[in-house]
């Protein structure tokens, strides 16, 4: 990459420590149930579990058979059963059914539930209600943090987003606080914490309380600063199509826990293969943050270099050949394999993208971000819907229109009615969710919000007003994207050429059309070392911003340039790429902690109604 790094970046702390901690803890928990046992695992825990332990680890600790939790009667014949689950009421109800069925059949077994990352009282209440409390022992596996790469840590809690932002349930606040606490005790003490958003504030408080309650050894800080940010501070960014390689791979193939499965169309055989995508993959590591338009050029250069390296063997004598085979060949072969894989993946991406008129789609997105030719955008979206092209894509464009434009009356002609006619009546409920979250707001005919509010304020007494204000709060969640964009210069001037090979700012991750709001805020606060001067911005975002100083950094150590950014509600690979870029420019290193990796599809799928 042609970035000019300002100065040497500091070394990242070794996050693999986290893996060892949780693995050992899991083993400890398994040993609490001595003897042979069958293990039932929640399906969404399988991949995270795979990253820290393998089957032989489990077998070593007397796990006999492994099953997936399927909410069906079980076939296990073991007399000890262990359930490794997320704390969900329906899963616990199913376990109760299993236990009660055994009881009815006169079968005696020992049961243990290991909740991860923690148990909830609501789950225990189910055990009690179903009369199996006591028959089942419970434990907690504090698996808060899964390092996906040397600079990415995931809580692997996609439900955090819906629970917190849609349902308004704060069950995961403590979890996020504990995760932060764990990082603080391993890599802290932190000297500064910045944040924005309600959930960030609550997470900060929860963490602070845990720090106060617990004791900690003074140690050398490896992470100096922390930035907490709520997903609802910026919905625009995750709604945009990703065009940086890693994000694009995620949009198209869905990266799961740092691993992607390439289907037959990529492998050009009848088999799919799973590939880990992280900095260990030398080829991937060099292209992950690149705009897709650069990837081909890079890969072909790489291929030429590889050819040269192979060609070296010509004219070698026996001894040289021997050295070549033992020292270089293996690495070259590995590189060869990875290279051809990423080339095929890129090809497949190209094919898919040309098929769905990607150019036109991107053009529409860019116009929306810029606030330009909105009528044309609307008619594009309208046609997209009428033609019943991908439902999620249509929904994404509608939401993007709503959050960027805020000229909501415009949405009416496109109208959610057309959407339901194309994709089914049950989306009535989807729209109710989107409205609640402020992602899609339809204008009430006639009156504007302010008029309505002031009228309401005059007409009714206080108590009713509270209720009504609450009802209006979704309407009040109107987006101020346009104003924010102006204030923060999120959309670079379009008359200048943007050279994607030599990015000049974070906008390169969206083809030079838009600097992600979330990352821009982080940049601004770090630059000012406070929120001073950003009052207007925080007001438009509806704030809850804070900046607090804790331990005085004993020295101007490298740790001060390591910044932990915690996204509550998920972050995208594009945002991670943008932060990596920012880090290079400013001599920081970012570690991203997220409740889950998200993208537009995941974000919207979480809001479809069939989700619960």
């Amino acid at each position: 990459m042609a970035h000019s790094a300002r100065r040497d970046s500091p070394e990242l702390p070794d996050l693999s420590l986290l893996k060892r901690l949780v693995r050992d803890q899991l083993i400890y928990l398994l040993e609490q149930l001595p003897g042979k046992k069958d293990l039932f695992i929640d399906s969404d825990l399988m991949s995270p579990l795979d990253r820290i332990a393998n089957v032989s680890t489990l077998k070593q600790h007397e796990v006999d058979k492994l099953y997936k939790v399927e909410h069906k009667p079980i076939v296990s014949i073991s007399d000890q059963i262990c359930f490794l689950i997320r704390p969900r009421i329906q899963t616990v109800k199913w376990i109760c059914d299993v236990v009660n069925a055994d009881k009815a059949a006169g079968k005696f077994r020992r049961y243990k539930i290991i909740f991860t990352p923690q148990k909830f009282y609501a789950c225990e209440a189910v055990l009690e209600e179903q009369g199996v409390f006591g028959d089942v022992t419970t434990d907690e596996w504090a698996f808060y943090l899964l390092p996906l790469d040397e600079d990415i840590i995931s809580l692997e809690l996609p439900e955090f987003f819906r629970d917190n932002f849609l349902a308004g349930d704060q069950r995961w606040v403590r979890t996020a606080g504990s995760a932060l606490h764990l990082l603080h005790s391993l890599f802290g003490p932190f000297s500064k914490v910045y944040g924005i958003g309600r959930c960030s504030k609550m997470t900060y408080e929860s963490w602070r309380e845990q720090v106060e309650q617990g004791e900690q050894k003074a140690r050398h800080a490896e992470i100096g600063n922390v930035f907490l940010i709520d997903r609802d501070v910026d919905f625009v960014t995750p709604l945009c199509s990703q065009v940086v390689y890693e994000g694009l791979v995620d949009d198209i193939f869905r990266i799961k826990c740092g691993c992607v499965e390439f289907g037959p169309e990529v492998t050009s055989s009848d088999k799919s293969i799973k590939v880990m995508l992280n900095s260990q993959d030398k080829v991937f590591n060099e292209i992950r943050n690149e705009h897709f338009s650069n990837v081909f050029g890079f890969l072909s250069q790489k291929a030429r270099n590889l050819q040269t390296a192979y060609d070296k063997r010509r004219g070698m004598d026996i001894q040289q050949m021997k050295t070549f085979v033992s020292e270089e060949l293996k690495g070259l072969k590995q590189e060869h394999r990875l290279l051809s894989l990423h080339i095929s993946a890129s090809e497949s991406i190209m094919k898919k993208k040309t098929k769905q008129d990607f150019q036109e789609l991107l053009k529409t997105e860019h116009c929306l971000l810029e606030g330009f030719e909105i009528r044309e955008c609307i008619s594009f979206i309208e046609e997209h819907i009428n033609r019943q092209v991908s439902m999620i894509e249509s929904l994404r464009l509608l939401c993007l229109l709503s959050v960027t434009e805020n000229a909501l009356c415009l949405i009416r002609p496109v109208s959610c009615a057309g959407f339901r006619q194309s994709y089914g009546a049950d989306h009535l409920l989807t729209f109710s969710n989107l409205r609640q979250l402020g992602l899609l707001v339809e204008q009430q005919p006639g009156e504007t919000l302010t008029v309505m509010e002031s009228k309401v304020g005059k007409l009714v007494n206080d108590r009713t007003a509270v209720k009504l204000t609450d009802a209006f709060s979704s309407l009040a969640k109107k987006s101020h994207f346009r104003a924010l964009s102006k204030k923060l210069n999120l959309v670079p001037k379009s008359d200048e050429e943007y050279d994607l090979r030599v990015p000049r700012d974070m906008a390169y991750i969206f083809s030079g059309a838009y600097i992600p709001l979330s990352c821009k805020i982080i940049e601004q606060v770090l630059e000012r070392d406070s929120w001073t001067g950003l009052e207007e911005v925080t007001r438009l975002i509806n704030g809850h911003e804070f900046a607090v100083t804790g331990a005085d950094p004993k020295s101007k150590s490298d740790a001060q340039r390591i910044i932990l950014v915690m996204f509550l509600g998920g972050c995208t690979f594009s945002e991670i790429s943008a932060l990596r870029f920012l880090g290079k420019e400013r001599g920081y290193k970012f570690i991203v902690v997220t409740t889950a990796i998200t993208n537009s599809s995941r974000l919207l799928e979480a809001l479809l109604d069939n989700n619960v």
Binding site: R20, D24, Q118, Q170, E205, E209, Q388, Q421, G424, V548
Partner: protein, 476 residues
């Protein structure tokens, strides 16, 4: 617990700072000791004290480390050492307690606010083995003495509590408000479950009305535990009829039989929906009603084998429960030229046009496609008109594998020259490309294009003729 309750409350009321109370510590300490004993017995590897020698592992992670190592790490974090400068508390949005309708005295509120910070001394101990706690009986005596603040703290820490001693409404609500002030959803729900069990609905609903955060948790809890009936009652009691209506409507998904589903939807029409939602439920009902009629007729027709179209293009699935546009497509596919059409659909001309075009193109019925664009003016001249841009029309036709001769006609109608050339090149409509360059008087482009057409073809001859035509005033 050695202190009397009154003493303790005095203490809390006057305390401004974090307190360390030894009676709590005793409890925790003994638990700590027991855990440690258990931990020590796991392996002799556990060192007594001293600096951790952090064994670094490579990113890929070396195979299994020792269990004791991680347990030791946890135990070490419980040992007291020099405290770090604490981070300041920032004001988080807490529900304004003073607004509550519960009649809690101001002083008790004050207590709640300050005491919430005075957390138990040493309680960060993570119990790996709940079984190792004190015997149940002993434990229980202690539990019953905990104050509301301590109880909420224990809830936050995931420890055992008994809520039974909180019997007066004030106590219950104090507990709830403290849990809300702590921002811990798990604790809030725990208290709510207790309140649900011990308060009648009327009182509970009334109190929740002024506690929005708690209310949201309660609604989510009821949703997750699928207590639909209670949830509906709650929403209605709060006057949130629109949400209640949606919730009831949602139930249609659980009804598989189409006739029962239709009847259910009909019964939903009388619910109080908000905004446009009522109309959409009406549309949903009308659509299903229609689909049931079509499905019955077509199934019969298909079985009897009288209609050719069903034999040539067997139906892939039933039309029941499909979206409106899919239904329209289906009708345009199988019933296009029948006099009776489902006409009352609230759709736009564009929607109809797009769908019908796709359906007729799929059947490769180019006559029908052609007819769709015909409009005659009063002199009887026909001119091709379309509510869609011709670019989009070409796109739809091409996706339905229309042959070049069909595509050509519509590519030619694209008004923007650049766009027209682009499409024409893509779909190999040579004539259009050639004519457009001619009209643009662009000799260079035309000469360039000559290289792309087949040698000795009619196109090549046409280009040659044009290039040698002296009458054209080329711009280049």
């Amino acid at each position: 617990m050695m202190k009397s309750k009154a003493d303790e409350e005095d203490y809390w009321n006057s305390s401004k700072y974090n307190a360390f109370t030894f009676d709590d510590a005793d409890d925790e300490l003994s638990a700590l000791k027991e855990t440690k004993k258990a931990v020590n017995s796991i392996g002799p590897l556990l060192a007594e004290d001293g600096e951790e020698d952090w064994e670094r592992v490579s990113w890929s992670g070396e195979p299994v480390g020792s269990i004791s190592w991680s347990v030791k790490e946890m135990a070490a974090s419980n040992q007291r050492a020099d405290r770090e400068p604490a981070f300041p508390k920032i004001s988080t949005e807490t529900p304004s307690l003073s607004k509550s309708q519960s009649g809690i005295s101001l002083s008790s509120l004050f207590k709640g606010e300050t005491v919430i910070r005075s957390l138990l001394g040493d309680s960060s101990l993570r119990l790996y083995t709940p079984e190792l706690r004190k015997p149940k009986s002993e434990y229980k005596d202690l539990v019953s003495d905990w104050s509301a603040e301590e109880t909420v703290q224990r809830l936050q820490q995931g420890k055992g509590v008994t809520l039974e001693k909180f019997r007066s409404l004030q106590d219950k609500l104090l507990l709830l408000d403290l849990a809300v002030a702590a921002h811990d959803g798990n604790a809030i729900t725990a208290v709510l479950i207790y309140l649900k069990r011990t308060l009648c609905k009327e009182v509970l609903f009334r109190e929740l009305e002024s506690r929005q955060t708690a209310l949201r948790h309660f609604i989510h809890y009821l949703t997750e535990s699928r207590e639909q009936r209670l949830l509906l009652e709650l929403l209605r009691a709060l006057g949130r009829t629109e949400e209640a209506a949606l919730l009831q409507y949602k139930d249609y998904k659980n009804i598989a039989d189409e006739n029962k589903r239709r009847d259910f939807l009909k019964s939903c029409l009388s619910l109080q929906f908000g905004g446009e939602d009522g109309n959409h439920v009406q549309d949903h009902y009308t659509l299903l009603e229609r689909q049931i009629i079509i499905e019955a007729a077509d199934r019969k027709a298909e079985r009897e084998g009288k209609l050719e179209v069903f034999q040539k293009f067997p139906r892939k699935a039933s039309i029941l429960n499909m979206p409106l546009i899919t239904t329209l497509y289906y009708c345009c596919f199988y019933h296009y030229n029948e006099p009776e059409q489902p006409a009352q659909c609230p759709i736009s001309e564009k929607q109809y046009f797009t769908t019908a075009l796709a359906a007729r193109a799929k059947l490769k019925n180019w006559t029908d496609v052609d007819a769709m664009f015909n409009s005659r003016n009063w002199l009887g001249f026909s001119k091709k008109k379309s509510p869609l841009s011709f670019q989009r029309v070409v796109d739809i036709l091409q996706k339905n594998s229309a042959p070049t001769r069909v595509l050509q006609e519509y590519v030619g109608l694209v008004s923007d020259a650049e766009l027209r050339i682009g499409l024409a090149q893509k779909h190999k409509c040579h004539d259009i490309v050639i004519n457009t360059y001619r009209d643009m008087k662009d000799r260079q482009q035309l000469a360039e294009y000559r290289k792309k057409v087949e040698r000795g073809s009619a196109e090549e001859r046409k280009i040659d003729e044009l290039l040698s035509n002296q009458q054209i005033r080329w711009k280049n």
